[in-house]
Point group: C2
Chain length 313, copies 2
């Protein structure tokens, strides 16, 4: 069966998953990790459930960095759904990482909806990969802005980026440097695997909101810690994960911010109060990805499939 | 596709898996555990691979103890095979725990082959469940003995046990007590979830080999620690697991044996020397189940399936 997401309110589903997480309703044991050699590869096994939900979910995601040498994708992924009441396996979703990409992009839209200033005149994207395109696609559902400026390390890939982009109303232009994106845009999403900061504090204008989705380990970083230090609000998807990975981890380590001043995205969603008290403030949201997102998107996809089957009968 | 095991040398496959494990060729990270409430359930996620093998394997097994109230089996299980070289998912085996049952029974046959005295005049089984039947089925491939004596807590289930038994050459009789089994049999396999010892040291005759497969946690026990204390050789499938579960764990805790005197089954298989130096000795093998068994049986089933497909073309 083909996986389709059309008709699903992914942004709303992610809001609810973050809220459930911050309410403490998620049970998410430690991630299992399998490291392979010759060729090198890593496999992560995430599992968990949300209290009251119908399923528990196991997600397997792998990265084998030499696969592209043989023309294969480096990442593979699948999700398994089981009945929370009986343990019976209900579905195997061979999504090859697609649902992870989509839930990450939808989380970026959640951050924009709750944190960005108004109006947004231009959207900036750092990174020309899948996530750099999907963020624009999902942002169409939460902002009125249809102008984007994109920076990517290899400018030669911009034509491909533009032709693969599935954000029909948005026009994109290419920036020569990350600082140019910061100078022009009010809403910036960073989607690179960079291990050195791409933006400096002096690059960022008042009124900017930045969402960082690229850094998901302790070694990656896209924003200079000083940016978080000067921000009026810093938000993360998971306070506990931010103790060991992501921009917030690095900024706390660098002494630029204090852990107790960081907000959790699900709490922001729950309160539904504007974090931003003026359109001139700078805000940062650091997303490292949490298992509740996987759980809720898998459940939503499966439920839609079940409904389709019902209506075919 | 139906899972079939016919034609597979399960006992040989298990010998090889134990040998690989004891040679240190297995990579088996900690088991993932998910605990559920309302209704209570537990899920274990085992994963790992054997160096040089083609696949890595993830096994999901669940126990929901209230399922039988709704007419459902309490346990569910499946195995996933992935390419060790690329991470690509290769197979989902919805075995519902069948392969786990079979590999456990085959491990009992490995223990009997390497540890039991000769000749075996009668085989004893404690426990009237699936494992109590499968052990007899697999023992037919490693012993000449075709007479069995079985004890089960609920004697009313013996007719059912006998009619479900798939060990065509073996005749079974019912014992009234565990001690009667010990008095009559040279090879005894205990397959119960008991939390108090079923056999005492005074019950066990010289020349007996006992294999304990029921106890797989720290709380279960089938053999009085004194039995392990008087045994001439004590063998476990996994020395590291025996530090926290099974008969050996309990006997070490009770001071009946010393950890350093315990042998690992894979080392016994590798040396291929008889552990037993006389037919009058008492030996014990404690099996708590190791992931290499799951890995190798899943690989064997999948490879056979691939071969069948090849030959159909």
């Amino acid at each position: 069966v083909e996986i389709g997401l059309g008709g699903l309110d992914l942004v709303g589903i992610m809001e609810e998953s973050f809220a459930a997480y911050s309410r403490g309703e998620a049970v998410v044991p430690p991630v299992g990790e399998l490291l392979l050699e010759d060729p090198p590869g890593e496999v992560h096994i995430k599992h968990g459930y949300i209290r009251g939900d119908e399923f528990f979910v196991i997600k397997v995601a792998s990265g084998f960095y030499r696969n592209p040498e043989s023309g294969l994708p480096s990442g593979h992924g699948l999700m398994l759904l089981f009945s929370r009441k009986t343990g019976a396996p209900e579905a195997v979703i061979l999504d090859e990482g697609y649902l992870t990409d989509m839930r990450t992009a939808a989380a970026g839209a959640v951050a924009a909806r709750h944190l960005a200033s108004h109006p947004i005149r231009r959207i900036g994207i750092l990174g020309g990969g899948v996530q750099g395109r999907l963020q624009l696609r999902l942002l169409e559902s939460v902002t009125d802005c249809r102008r984007a400026l994109v920076w990517m390390r290899d400018a030669g890939k911009f034509q491909r980026y533009r032709s693969d982009l599935d954000a029909p109303e948005t026009t994109v232009e290419l920036a020569e440097a990350p600082a140019e994106v910061a100078a022009e845009c009010d809403l910036i999403v960073t989607t690179t695997p960079s291990t050195t900061p791409l933006l400096r504090a002096r690059d960022v204008r008042p009124g900017t909101h930045l969402t960082a989705v690229g850094s998901d380990t302790g070694g990656k970083i896209e924003l200079d810690p000083e940016i978080l230090g000067l921000a009026d609000a810093v938000v993360v998807d998971s306070l506990s994960q931010s103790e060991s990975r992501g921009e917030v981890y690095r900024a706390v380590e660098a002494g630029a911010i204090r852990r107790k001043d960081v907000l959790e995205l699900g709490d922001v969603v729950r309160r539904d109060a504007r974090v931003r008290t003026s359109e001139d403030q700078i805000t940062v949201c650091d997303l490292t990805g949490v298992a509740v997102q996987d759980i809720r998107i898998a459940e939503a996809v499966y439920r839609r499939l079940e409904n389709e089957r019902e209506s075919e009968r």
